[in-house]
Symmetry: C2
Subunit: 272 residues, 2 copies
């Protein structure tokens, strides 16, 4: 996944997976910085505030460099506020949040000169995504679900998920044994999310047939690696244009979805 | 699936799906005979005996031709007895039973001059098979799971599953409304079968997300039809040899799995 002289950027949420990943990569002596994205999810529970504290404390304790991007400051509204000002996601902020995080991670990673963006997705995460995509046979998504997505020279950074073969309970055990302080709460907006439903169903399967979750994911990777899916397998072959506003790669001509959405958020905020 | 002058052979188990299918095809004025395979599953409950009675009664009532193949008479042992004499299936007769039924159905269909073999598999059956194959990403099976499998000139009859888009509750409702007498019992050996476990899991998914089961199956068919799987899609392209004993097509040189298994069953029975 990585060469020893790669500059790695880890996307850090303050949760166990991403902090454990940062810890592992640092102990393996990779050159690895963190990126925390402040989403402004600060109603009851102060999710963003508390998770940022954990990320900052970890960086300070291990003398690591943490880049902080604050959505409210940079883009003009917090994620929950912006979600009320756009039709994207039908009231739920998750779609907007994912779009925004992907954009920021790629921008910081690509323009910061990093070789690879690492995220803390574990087996439970990946199996749930795979399960959702399989229930609807979304073959485009299936063919691009991979532990490593190679970069695209026009502007997508290489991406890697080093923990994708570890059960969530394994990353939790690692974080516990290493004494890593992380935020226990899930994002309050995740309640009722499809991904959580799929995780529960897969947990039931795993309880009845131990190993089924790993087998599901690994046999998928094997089939995918053998070229089973008859279409483009990664982002290197996508037909990409440059967004005329931000310059990031996009599959649609003109403005990318990120710029379009946030321009409309700011316009509505001013007029409203 | 069928032309009006096709000669159709319906595999009839005495259950609701296959009898409902026979009824529908007969009412639509297709030329359709039935095939009942006596498996000799006649411990407590007398499953085979009772299911044969239902099949015979239906044929008599509608003045239809029913072919009866008795495994014990033809092959020398009942399915449960044979299962104790072979290592196939590790004590469970289901693998041997499937192998045997597929062989007999193809032999009777092909040599009887039928154009197509129709089976009563419903959506619940197909979705459970699909689910099992997907959990292990068995792409060979996935690519051949289809409402219609075209024939292979060297000896595989065309196969069709006209009810594959109907929920089990729909075929049950049809059988009920038509007053079809069918056997309610499941095969006693099916208890604990993976397929039943998968059906239960999918039923839970369906209860939480109505339509999910149909969507899972239909989106699979759509993806498959679009050529997503990068391998042979049906039996017409298989590299087949002829079994040196029975002459039926097989993918392995020499004897087919059916002949090999039953020869060994008869040898053990004689010696044992």
């Amino acid at each position: 996944m990585f060469k020893m002289d790669d500059r790695i950027l880890v996307a850090v949420s303050g949760g166990k997976d991403s902090l454990a990943l940062w810890d592992v990569l640092n102990r393996l002596e990779y050159k690895v910085d963190g990126l925390y994205i402040g989403l402004g999810i600060d109603g009851e529970g102060r999710y963003s505030h508390n998770s940022q504290e954990k990320a900052e404390a970890f960086a300070a304790e291990h003398n690591l460099h943490l880049i902080i991007e604050d959505v409210t400051k940079t883009l003009g509204a917090s994620i929950p506020e912006a979600a009320t000002l756009t039709h994207r996601g039908r009231g739920k902020p998750c779609s907007l949040c994912g779009l925004t995080k992907r954009h920021i991670m790629n921008r910081v990673g690509f323009h910061g000169g990093y070789d690879v963006l690492a995220t803390g997705h574990n087996l439970d995460d990946e199996a749930a995504v795979l399960f959702g995509n399989t229930l609807n046979w979304q073959v485009g998504y299936l063919s691009r679900q991979s532990p490593v997505l190679e970069d695209n020279p026009t502007g997508f950074i290489r991406r890697a998920k080093p923990f994708c073969r570890f059960y969530e309970r394994e990353t939790a055990a690692y974080a516990l044994l290493r004494g890593i302080e992380y935020i226990y709460d899930e994002c309050p907006h995740a309640v009722g999310a499809k991904s959580i439903y799929y995780k529960e169903l897969l947990n039931q399967l795993e309880a009845d047939r131990p190993g089924a979750k790993l087998q599901f994911y690994l046999s998928f990777l094997k089939a995918r690696g053998e070229g089973v899916f008859n279409i483009e397998q990664d982002q290197s072959g996508l037909d990409l244009k440059q967004c005329e506003t931000c310059g990031q790669p996009t599959t649609i001509p003109g403005q990318c979805a990120f710029c379009r959405t946030w321009e409309s958020v700011r316009a509505r905020k001013q007029s409203g």
